[in-house]
Symmetry: C2
Subunit: 209 residues, 2 copies
DNA sequence: CACCTTAATGCGATTTTGTAGCTTCTAGGC
DNA sequence: GCCTAGAAGCTACAAAATCGCATTAAGGTG
């Protein structure tokens, strides 16, 4: 089977895409996101507006693409010697980047022009990957580790919720608090989570009491 | 100082607003949200397009207004005799409504055309109000109660995060699990939350490797 | 209650944006 | 080196958004 013919990621298409993305980044900086128009981007990128309309549909989907690209983490989280330290530092940086005005704008854009949720899913996947890296390291060190899902629910979700629904009320101290509670929970709730249909699974450690 | 002359909420303005909102609701049902246009809404509402452009700016902001109106809870959460039961039932209904296709659409619309976050803040306030009603009842019963903030972080935020970033992965059982863990946390972490500046945070990220 | 003031709407002209049909170009396969 | 088909260019057209000015009617004032 030929793995490529479905789409053409190389050659001219790739150049156009890169050119358009670059034009968006430049113009957002120059005239601001609100003043942006498709014809404007097309001119700067050296393509015709039709091309952009055909490939992206509208300005929102284009901005969504660009936003997701900028939300991709550039490096793995730092290794500070313990899970707790890694998570603290990562969460703090996460808040710094995501809660900043440009960060909020990118998140909104990513969600905005995304009919099928692909881009939003990608954002979530980025965070999960970063967390997995830290958890894998902790496992290698022999530390007990919570599940990725728990950290997403307890750390990532509250941060994103505040960014999207409650401007303000968000700082590094809050991020550390979330990490503290999540790690603490992992130590005490280990067997308490299932809940579900009253399944009395006493397999792992019973939190007793 | 005259407290009203800033804006004119009564009379014709009010009629126009209601008429336009009604037109949006009708047309969304008839032709679908994607086919909606400002001129179309204007015609149905019996106003000129200019009026809509002037008052709402664009279709997104109008849809955002309508969406927030529909996301407003219509009744107080049911009183089932205990905080746990109230929260369970409420969270389940919350997931049902918010995770349904129309619910997701309203949430997206509400966030979408909302430059200053006013509408998003309103959505968050609705949830907080509902929770406060249940907590007040529990206090009256003499039950120990968690803080509103804890429930928002532990129950509302994870649900909304999944709706927005991870289509699928969301059902009533998950909602109950969140409530269980939140209530459980409230019983065990009572004094464990502060945390704050206790951590000996070494200077930020170590470049490592 | 008649009279102002002015926010808000209506209306039409103009500009800008979005779409459609067709032609031209070129990446990828033979 | 040729073919094929996906992607971009180009033009004309349709639809939308914007702007200036006239008109209406809230809400306050005497």
């Amino acid at each position: 089977m030929s793995p490529k013919p479905m789409v053409r990621p190389g050659g001219r298409s790739a150049r156009v895409q890169e050119s358009v993305h670059a034009a968006v980044r430049e113009l957002v900086g120059e005239v601001g996101r609100d003043a942006l128009t498709v014809p404007m981007v097309a001119t700067r990128a050296g393509v015709t507006p039709s091309t952009i309309y055909r490939r992206w549909g509208d300005l929102q989907e284009l901005l969504s693409d660009v936003a997701v690209e900028r939300l991709r983490p550039e490096t793995d989280p730092a290794d500070l010697g313990s899970l707790r330290a890694d998570l603290d530092a990562w969460a703090e940086q996460f808040v710094d980047e995501m809660a900043s005005p440009p960060g909020r704008a990118y998140i909104r854009d990513a969600l905005l022009g995304d009919p099928d949720g692909t881009n939003a899913g990608q954002c979530s996947a980025y965070a999960a990957e970063q967390i997995d890296v830290m958890l894998a390291r902790a496992v290698r060190r022999g530390e007990p580790v919570p599940e990725t899902e728990l950290l997403i629910d307890r750390v990532v979700a509250p941060i994103m919720y505040r960014i999207l629904f409650r401007p303000g009320r968000l700082d590094a101290a809050y991020a550390r608090e979330l990490v503290t509670n999540a790690v603490y929970a992992q130590q005490t709730e280990a067997g308490a989570r299932p809940t579900q249909a009253a399944a009395p699974r006493r397999s792992k450690k019973q939190p007793d009491n």
